[in-house]
């Protein structure tokens, strides 16, 4: 199964903000985390992730800083900001509405979909 491009794009922001809300992170780790969370179904490209991170930074939702952790390379770490958390909460409300509605629909005629895919 391949998740449609539009859906990936729409869910990208809450996903990145959500991951950063767990802990500060850097590009490669974020990509791996998304891959892991989706069981490998969400395969983001660098062309999606990095411009998105930069956009979130421009919008003030995340902050970045170059950090050198002992024994590792210098890396650009991203940290979610207050307004990023607010945005995440907002997006979460919206997604819950969408997901809730879909669940209702699919509960109604469960036959074609044996498994509720959320």
């Amino acid at each position: 199964m391949k998740v449609a491009k539009d859906l990936v794009a729409a869910s990208a922001t809450p996903m990145v903000l959500g991951i950063l809300a767990e802990a500060d992170s850097y590009g490669y780790a974020i990509l791996r985390r998304i891959n892991e969370l989706s069981g490998g179904e969400l395969d983001w490209t660098e062309g999606l992730l990095y411009p998105l991170l930069h956009r979130l930074e421009r919008l003030g939702y995340v902050e970045s800083s170059w950090q050198a952790v002992a024994g590792e390379r210098r890396r650009k770490y991203y940290r979610v900001t207050e307004s990023g958390l607010a945005e995440l909460a907002e997006q979460r409300r919206q997604w819950e509405t969408v997901v809730g509605a879909l669940k209702e629909i699919w509960r109604g005629d469960a036959q074609p979909f044996a498994v509720v895919p959320v």
Binding site: Y26, Y28, E46, E72, K76
Partner: protein
């Protein structure tokens, strides 16, 4: 955060198996220099992406791949850099022009380099502008000494543009020597021959010297790799885009002049002398350098405009050429070989050739032949036919009335164009029939470029004495 499945053991660099660490570092260095050429990516972006690539390589090595394999796979996974740059460009559209011009962005160490480039640009543009005025120190007058200014026009600005390009390319001493020699030779050709103001030779020199010197600019452009066909093709593309920018700057200059004249006249001061003697000539010379810099600076950031124009005009020119041929056959009238008509036909063929060259320079070398290539074939073949007709007429006139510098120059140019068009037609035909690779056409055109340069120099240097300064 995960990381558990990552190769925790592998250190920052080169501690993988196989001992090829140095190799891998060289590959990273190569990758970095390749990526850094993309102006949308700031130094910080490149470092961030490199970190990503290293993470990916480490993981693959941890999964058992050899370092070089891991590198290849990781780069491949990263996807096409074009796409990546495009995404960055979309996100950082503000950077494009800001980066081009004034501020280096804060965290980029390359910022000082850009500022230095800007300084060199300003110096070169100012040099070109002042070069136009320099002859006045020796009593020349822009309005009256046309026989001096016409053949010398290209000598004011082109050396500065060539200098700027040579500086950017870190041209070697030999190359700089060659460039200086070429421009000196151009200056000699423009000024030593005793040519009357209304002689044919002075017109020929005024047309051909800029061409000859433009190839000297081209030499400066390719000075980092003179033999590379790709670099020559880059120069062809540079020429097209330079022309587009130059025209645009010229249009802007026209608006500026209109406002200068209008506003100053409104308050009772006449700015005509300033406009005619300073603003227009100095601006035109400086714009030569600035247009060149713009092409260099925006390289690979914005879609190139010249290829788009060729797509637009190839069909139109094909239609005009075919229409002309049909009319020629239907009316069975020959071509009137007046001086203007000859020049017109030469120009037409040059434009066709330019269209062909730009299309080639913009074409994806690996794409299979398509409709556009067939259209191209029609264009080249009709140009070839017209060239043959013109050649026929010129040789007829020369055998009948003897030769003049104009006719000889036109004859030579037509022969050169005929040779190129004939072989191009053959290659495009092969391309359409999928028997000839596109690279053959590209190689033919880039190898042919010096022929134009040699011919232009011949006209400039030999024609005046050969034809007795006629």
């Amino acid at each position: 955060m995960s990381g558990g499945s990552g190769p925790g053991a592998s250190g920052p660099d080169g501690s993988g198996p196989g001992g090829g660490g140095g190799d891998l570092e060289a590959q990273f260095a190569q990758w970095r220099s390749y990526v850094q050429r993309r102006r949308v990516l700031s130094a910080g972006d490149v470092e961030e992406l490199e970190d990503h690539l290293r993470g990916s390589v480490d993981e693959l090595v941890g999964a058992g791949l050899r370092e070089d394999e891991a590198f290849l796979v990781a780069v491949k996974r990263m996807g096409s850099l074009d796409e990546l740059s495009r995404e960055f460009a979309r996100e950082h559209s503000e950077r494009l022009w800001k980066q081009l011009v004034l501020t280096g962005d804060g965290d980029a160490p390359a910022g000082s380099g850009k500022r230095r480039e800007l300084l060199v640009l300003v110096a070169c543009a100012a040099g070109a502008a002042l070069s136009v005025k320099a002859p006045e120190l020796f009593g020349m007058d822009y309005g009256q000494d046309g026989e001096f200014y016409a053949p010398n026009a290209s000598l004011f600005a082109f050396p500065w543009l060539a200098g700027f390009l040579a500086w950017r390319r870190h041209a070697g001493k030999t190359m700089i020597g060659v460039l200086v020699a070429l421009f000196a030779l151009g200056a000699v050709a423009a000024n030593v021959f005793p040519l009357a103001e209304d002689s044919q030779s002075i017109v020929l020199t005024s047309i051909h010297l800029p061409i000859a010197l433009w190839f000297a600019v081209g030499l400066a452009y390719v000075s980092d790799d003179v033999r590379s066909p790709r670099r020559r093709m880059d120069f062809v593309r540079f020429t097209g885009e330079w022309f587009v920018y130059y025209v645009l700057i010229g249009l802007g200059g026209g608006v500026l002049i209109a406002f200068v004249v209008g506003t100053f006249t409104a308050i009772g001061t006449s700015p005509e002398t300033f406009v005619a003697h300073w603003l227009a000539p100095c601006g035109a010379a400086a714009a030569v350098v600035v247009a060149g810099w713009l092409v260099e600076a925006k390289q690979s950031v914005v879609e190139n405009i010249a290829p788009v124009l060729t797509r637009l005009f190839t069909p139109l020119f094909t239609a005009v050429l075919l229409g002309f041929l049909v009319t020629l056959v239907v009316t069975t009238s020959g071509i009137d070989v007046e001086r203007e008509a000859l020049i017109l036909f030469d120009l037409l063929l040059v434009v066709v050739l330019a269209l062909l060259l730009y299309t080639i320079s913009a074409r994806d070398p690996l794409a299979p032949a398509g409709v556009f290539d067939k259209l191209q074939l029609a264009l080249v073949v009709s140009a070839l036919l017209i060239d043959a007709v013109v050649l026929w007429e010129i040789t007829g006139r020369i055998t009948e009335y003897g030769t003049t510098p104009n006719k000889a120059a036109a004859l030579g140019e037509n022969v050169i164009l005929l040779a190129n068009l004939a072989w191009s037609a053959w290659l495009v035909l092969g391309l359409v029939r999928r028997k000839v690779p596109f690279a053959a056409l590209e190689r033919w055109q880039t190898n042919y470029l010096p022929v134009y340069a040699v011919w232009a120099w011949l006209v400039v240097l030999l024609f005046p004495p050969v034809f007795g300064f006629m």
